[in-house]
Amino acid sequence: MRRVVITGTGFYSPIGDNMADLRTSLEHMKSGIRFMDEWSGVNGLEARIAGVVPVSDFSEIPRAYRRTMDRVAMMCALSLKRAVEQSGLSREHVTAHKTGISFGSAMGGLETLFEYAEDVSHNSGFGRQNATAFLRFMSHTVAANLAVMFGVIGRNIPTSSACTASSQAIGAGYESIKYGMSDVMLVGGGEGLHYVEAGIFDSMGATAIGYNNNAQAASRPFDIGRSGLIVSEGSGALVLEEYEHAKARGAVILGEIVGYATGCDGSHITLPSERGMEQVMRDALADAKLNPEDIGYINAHATATPKGDIFESIAVHRVFGHNTPISSIKGYTGHMFGGGGAFESIVSLMALNESFLPANKNLETVDPACAPLDYIRSHRETEIKAVMNNNFAFGGINTSIIIKKI
């Protein structure tokens, strides 16, 4: 069976856009969530805080590509550029027939979509609309734009399953290589921040309320005082490569994806199911041919919603018992939606390679309704051999990725 390794990563997040800054933020328990002065004119929002990537200059991307990119595609493009640079892949490799791409986001280019809809509705109709607007907001804008920018001619698998968009992209890339359709897959995803995301989750009662004046304490996975998620933005990109292909060109291998599974609950559109979560973790372990005790760290999805964290903890307990260290990094970043799966896989890779297990930020008292697990309270320096990264999305869509040291 063909093996799948990771040879490059790149990301933007509210807590850093490079490994050193990311590690520092996690070590010092520093959150990238802040009060949004920019949303002061928006009526009816309960949660006025968000995780923000402090970057606005994307002029590094040539205009010919940037003209059809919203913020989400630009963050993904530069993340992928860094990942490709780290991998050492040549232009010839990237544009080879068996190099493909899989990228996703929850919303596409939301900023452009809102400007466009408002202008069409209230001002000029369709008479004076830019030709590039749709290309910036369409649901597969990231995968389409990145393929053009990098000259990819192999498989292109756009994903758009909200919180599992980029973890499904990783899975699509993994399976493409494993089953021989590709030698290299450029994978990941992202999300650009917009107040409508905060409004959408407010309307569902899913955002954290009561923390507008205390942003650092707002996102509290597994804590008894949690009241919901915090919206945020960011991106993650990984270069996946067939093991022999990477070895033949002398690439530095960062880790091996040994297991992946995706499944769905088939029950409720928003309410998660511990049965579906449990199944996807068991399926990933079976794919990896590993036992639960082989996993040294679980990077949880845990968004700090009242029910989601409970169901997730119960599912983890059923599969692993109570001894496997677990943390969610959404206490630092908020919920990056389409960027979360890829970024959290990169954090999982860091845990593996730096023997650094990040703590659950803001976890003071574990909710007694959550199952008894080894919740990490302060970061640990522990050598591990394999990590599991879980993500769960609306529609009951679940993913589990297992990465191993090589």
């Binding site: 205009r63 003209r67 059809t68 000029s124 008479g127 004076r128 609309q129 830019n130 030709a131 590039t132 290309l135």
Partner: protein, 81 residues
């Protein structure tokens, strides 16, 4: 050629397509010399329509080859008004 109209067209092309002002002369072909493609042409016309408040017919767009052609079209529109 109306220098005010030319200056405005030059300004829009410089800003929208990240060109240098000295590159924009009336004899320059928009596609071959300045590197605009079909999407850029639509966006240029859109910007000019917003600036001058009139509607370019599609067939007018196809007759535009150079920067000078655009300025000419705009001058004819301004004269009609």
């Amino acid at each position: 050629m109306n220098s005010d109209v030319f200056n405005k067209v030059q300004e829009i092309i410089v800003e929208q397509f990240e060109k240098e002002a000295h590159e924009i002369t009336s004899d320059k072909l928009l596609v071959e010399d300045l590197g605009l493609d079909s999407l850029d042409m639509f966006d240029l016309i859109c910007a000019l329509e917003k600036e001058y408040g009139f509607h370019f017919e599609r067939e007018m767009g196809s007759s535009i080859g150079t920067v000078g052609d655009i300025v000419g079209q705009l001058e004819r529109h301004i004269t009609k008004e």
